[in-house]
């Protein structure tokens, strides 16, 4: 059996797959951005900040959690809405990472996923939320 064409086919398939993975990688990459950039609402990004004390409320009718995060450097705030379970250690969070997209209509950052960092006396000890 001639193996040359088969190798060629294999190489083409591998290259094709490499291209596919790379584009998928670029597409799904969620970059960390400053709030100003997130407000353009162009793509899914992640933003980080501290929880503004007293800003969180759970709206049962919408089954959503609303809160503000504050940029530790610029002190800018961003309103975030998260449809889902309020993470366990939420009120004690020192830093919250929200992954999602800014809705330019409602002017709220719609988070699909939250990572909550706690004052970590426990290593590797945070609550995970899948969406």
């Amino acid at each position: 059996m001639k193996t040359k064409p088969l190798y060629l086919l294999g190489a083409v398939l591998l290259l094709g797959f490499a291209g596919f993975s790379l584009s998928s990688f670029k597409q799904t990459l969620t970059p960390y951005v400053p709030y100003a950039k997130a407000r353009s609402g162009e793509r899914i990004v992640q933003v980080a900040g501290g929880l503004q004390k007293g800003s969180s409320s759970y709206v049962a009718a919408q089954e959503s959690l609303y809160f503000n995060i504050v940029d530790p450097k610029t002190h800018e705030t961003l309103r975030v809405r998260y449809k889902g379970v309020k993470p366990g250690n939420f009120e004690d969070a020192i830093s919250i990472v929200a992954i999602g997209r800014y809705d330019t209509g409602t002017k709220v950052f719609e988070a699909d996923k939250l990572l909550v960092k706690c004052p970590s006396k426990y290593q590797g000890a945070e609550v995970k939320t899948y969406s």
């Binding site: 059996m1 193996t3 088969l6 294999g10 591998l14 797959f17 596919f20 993975s21 998928s24 990688f25 597409q27 799904t28 990459l29 969620t30 970059p31 960390y32 951005v33 950039k37 899914i44 990004v45 992640q46 980080a48 759970y58 049962a60 089954e63 449809k83 889902g84 379970v85 309020k86 366990g88 250690n89 939420f90 009120e91 004690d92 990472v97 992954i99 996923k113 990572l115 909550v116 706690c118 970590s120 006396k121 426990y122 290593q123 590797g124 000890a125 945070e126 609550v127 995970k128 939320t129 899948y130 969406s131």
Partner: protein, 745 residues
């Protein structure tokens, strides 16, 4: 120096140092054997034995300190606490960075004793054990540097306690099993490197094979447990989230899977001889790399359960670099001398298909590695980022399709090769079965073409391998059927993954206590709060009626006393066809109080209240009373609406500025109950009202998910592991036969 010593718990620290000395002595001994003095082997073995005893003593000291709750030790005070039950104190052992390195080291050391017995003749043993000892020594150095026996300047009265998230029976068994798998990855690596070092290219594969299989089995079991833990108790909503820590165990497992197939090919067919060196290296290096990613803090902003930087990144990089240099040097200089056979397999042969499947799995492992490394890869870009689960799902879908296709065909291929027509004829029966299953899925609700193809191929793989397993079983009994059985399991897992994650239905609802509510095909009623009893935390009892069957689920939501963390445990009602998964989101205990500013309205139960303002002339002039320092009486003008009728009410509030005494005169509500003023916020002009006889009912928000066929994921993995176990037993039997033959000669 003395100052440094005074901050260490000496019995523990000394055993660590002794271990280091004995390990170094063992290395010297092995080197001596390799340079032509076989007499030193006894010395090396004995040193390794003493080393192993020292490590076991170290672990025993640590366990004892934890059990005694000796809070002088920093590690104990960080992970144990007065109220921690005994079985969780074992979990404290590996709850932290240092302890998890220690348990890894313990397993590595013990496995070394097995490696010693299986490594072969004295020179081979010295080389294999020499390299293996280097791998455990690396862990030992990290522990000596990050000494777990560091003492605190002051002894606290209580420890910080174990993270409530980790107070779980899975935490007691999952991590130690995971670390056996990690430790085992070093064994094939040691065999491979020793073989290259000694330029003895034969026989290592057969000796390393049982260890590679064992490591694959144990790591697989740990991954299964981790997924089950995440699903059943942590309430992550799924069994796999593509988190870096999860990936760090999956990647070595995938490399290990390719490696066991490669070793099998080398042992039986003399193929893959060069590739196996690379595969053993990749498997071990991926363990080190995963450890680096999750322990160095490079992912601290990206993963939820990644460890924070403890200042060992430099060490981990040095460790990876040294083993990388060693292996790349050996591979670069020796690999081309490894004799190989020319590839004469025809395309439609088992050999070719195994190569294709191996490449496919390698590609999968590599893209998962790339995805997990995204924060590192994009570190120098303007906005570093990470990739989400959708990346892994997208790229692994075609991979899974291809794997299923290859697996479907392999059982009907021989080493010699097959005619296309004969092959197709054999595939007719299983294909009809697969098409029937696909049609069934389409009737059910799968309409996405890729998903239909996925189901078709997965079912085909299941069918052909099940057929072959049955044939093998009838011919040779359990022996020899392991590999095919494992492939049946892969088909089952793929079916479970697609049905439970692409066709699950999730609804978020808020239940009012006692009021039934329809959710999909089920009726849910929030019955009551179940109070805390012993270690059982408070839960919410929900009665469910579904398809005429009645059952209750009790998901839990509770505050951890120590950390005030709100914890959530879902409850899952499993059945053969689907899981009914209920996770609490928010609990509102119900209220009978209102805080209203002037002009605001609020509602309690069916009573609507509007606060029109204060009445300062309720009993004399309040301002004058205040100025005179006399008791003040203030009224609150309320418009109360109930059952469509509005009534004006004026409950009173008394305050004696001299004594600070307060009192209220409630007003009766039309239709029963009363309302009282319990506080006044003068600066905001707000009033606090408390109702009696009226209450907003308790509400519970939950997430109800219907996960079809998720049982297939767990059972498929069990089938894979059972197949692997059968194969391992078979290999061990062969190894014993081989040794007996060698002894007879």
């Amino acid at each position: 120096m003395l100052n440094y010593l005074s901050h260490l718990y000496l019995p523990g620290a000394m055993t660590l140092w002794c271990a280091f000395v004995f390990a170094a002595a063992a290395l010297v001994g092995y080197a001596d054997v390799l340079s032509g003095r076989p007499g030193s082997l006894q010395f090396a073995r004995r040193s390794y034995g003493f080393y192993a005893v020292s490590i076991l003593l170290t672990a025993a000291v640590m366990a004892m300190l934890l059990l005694l709750r000796d809070y002088r030790i920093e590690y104990v005070s960080q992970y144990s606490g007065n109220d921690l039950p005994t079985h969780y104190q074992f979990a404290s052992f590996w709850a932290g960075q240092k302890g998890s390195f220690l348990i890894w080291l313990v397993w590595g050391t013990l496995l070394g004793l097995l490696v010693q017995r299986a490594a072969g003749p004295s020179k081979a043993e010295a080389a294999v054990m020499g390299i293996y000892t280097l791998t455990v020594l690396a862990l030992l150095l990290i522990l000596i540097r990050e000494n777990p026996f560091k003492m605190l300047p002051q002894t606290p009265a209580d420890g910080a306690g174990l993270n409530p998230l980790l107070q779980n029976n899975w935490m007691v068994i999952h991590p130690p099993i995971m670390f056996i798998g990690y430790a085992a990855a070093a064994i094939p690596f040691a065999f491979a490197m020793a073989s290259l070092w000694r330029r003895d290219y034969d026989g290592w594969a057969a000796r390393a094979f049982p260890f590679a299989l064992g490591g694959f089995l144990i790591l697989g079991t740990a991954i299964l447990m981790g997924g089950y833990w995440a699903y059943k108790t942590l309430g992550w909503g799924g069994f796999w989230g593509w988190d870096p820590v999860e990936n760090a165990s999956l990647i070595p497992w995938l490399f290990g899977t390719v490696m066991i197939h490669g070793l099998h090919m080398e042992r039986t067919r003399g193929r893959y001889r060069r590739a196996n060196y690379v595969l053993a290296t990749l498997t071990y290096m991926s363990v080190l790399y995963g450890t680096f990613l999750t322990r160095s803090g490079v992912l601290a902003d990206f993963s939820v359960h990644s460890f924070v930087d403890l200042g060992i990144s430099g060490w981990l990089i040095a460790l990876m670099a040294s083993f990388a240099i060693l292996s790349v040097y050996l591979l670069a200089t020796r690999l081309r001398h490894v004799p190989t056979q020319p590839n004469e397999d025809p395309f439609l042969s088992r050999g070719t298909f195994m190569v294709l499947a191996s490449i496919t799995l390698l590609v999968s492992a590599l893209v998962i590695t790339a995805g997990t490394s995204a924060p590192l890869l994009t570190r120098f870009m303007e906005n570093p980022g990470q990739v989400g689960p959708s990346f892994y799902n997208q790229v692994n879908l075609p991979i899974a399709l291809l794997v299923a296709l290859l697996l479907s065909v392999v059982p009907f291929l021989s080493w010699k090769g097959e005619g296309a027509r004969a092959l197709l004829r054999k595939l007719i029966g299983p294909s009809l079965f697969a098409l029937a299953a696909t049609a069934g899925a389409a009737v059910w609700k799968v309409h996405q073409p890729f998903h239909l193809l996925f189901i078709c191929l997965a079912t085909l793989a299941l069918a052909t391998n099940a057929y072959k397993t049955a044939l093998k079983y009838r011919a040779h009994g359990l022996r020899g059927a392991g590999g095919y059985l494992a492939h049946v399991g892969v088909g089952v897992i793929l079916l479970g993954i697609i049905s439970s994650s692409a066709y699950d239905e999730s609804t978020k609802v808020t239940l009012e206590m006692g009021v039934p509510r329809q959710v999909g095909d089920a009726t849910l009623t929030f019955i009551r709060m179940v109070p805390r009893r012993g270690f059982d935390k408070e839960g919410m009892e929900i009665a469910v009626v579904r398809h005429g069957k009645q059952f209750t689920v009790t998901p839990k939501m509770f505050m951890n006393d120590r950390t005030r963390q709100l914890m959530v445990n879902p409850d899952v009602r499993s059945s053969l066809l689907a899981d009914f998964y209920v996770s609490p989101i928010e609990f509102d205990p119900g209220q009978s109080a209102l805080q209203l500013a002037k002009g605001d309205s609020g509602q309690v139960g069916n009573v609507m209240v509007r606060f029109a303002g204060f009445d300062l002339q309720a009993e004399g002039n309040a301002m004058a009373q205040m100025a005179a320092g006399k008791p003040v009486v203030i009224g609150a003008r309320l418009a109360v609406t109930r059952d469509g009728k509005t009534t004006e009410l004026k409950p009173l509030y008394r305050l004696n500025p001299a004594t600070g005494e307060v009192g209220a005169v409630p007003a009766a509500l039309p239709g029963g109950g009363e309302v009282a003023v319990t506080g006044i916020d003068a600066s905001n002009g707000a009033v606090r009202l408390e109702m009696a006889g009226v209450k907003t009912p308790a509400r519970l928000s939950i997430d109800v998910t219907h996960k079809p066929l998720i049982l297939l994921v767990w059972s498929g993995l069990w089938i894979v592991l059972a197949g692997g176990l059968m194969a391992t037993a078979n290999r061990l039997r062969e190894a014993r036969l081989r040794d007996r033959l060698a002894a007879a000669k």
